[in-house]
Symmetry: C2
Subunit: 73 residues, 2 copies
Amino acid sequence: MPQLRDISAISILAGNVRKYRIAKNLSQEALANLAGIEYSQVSRIERGLLNTSISVVFALANALNIKPTQLLE
Amino acid sequence: MPQLRDISAISILAGNVRKYRIAKNLSQEALANLAGIEYSQVSRIERGLLNTSISVVFALANALNIKPTQLLE
DNA sequence: CAATATTAAGGCAAATTTGCCTTAACTCAA
DNA sequence: TTGAGTTAAGGCAAATTTGCCTTAATATTG
């Protein structure tokens, strides 16, 4: 029972996280700390390896001072 | 190692899925079929039990003919 | 009321994510 | 070059989600 996995959705999130993180001059580790998640997850998310949860999307958006929706468009 | 779980994010998704589904006159089962996911997942998502993935958010939005971002605002 | 449709609830195994860890590769300033 | 900082890569156990299933509860329609 493989999980639903939308490469396009995952890539959109990956690109946006990286874009906004760089724009704020944050390292992956700094972003992870601000978001309250593991540093290696940020790396995996940005590389498009993870079909992560909406809670993580909200946490990342919060850490980046943007709206969650901005990470999905 | 509990996963990050943002009740507020989960509730927002729950309410939006239900709202748009009802607006389109779809049963949970019909929506699940359109989205390509299990019917019981729709039930659990609408009840706020599941911290689901961005792929599922995109699939639901697609099935509902709305943008993924609309499910998170 | 009776019957049908819809939703809630929960169990289970398998798949996936998460957090924690280590190591290698790469960048860049001194 | 050297060293510090950052990122990539991957392993692992535990937690969570997913799909599949059954049954009960609730709505809705005839």
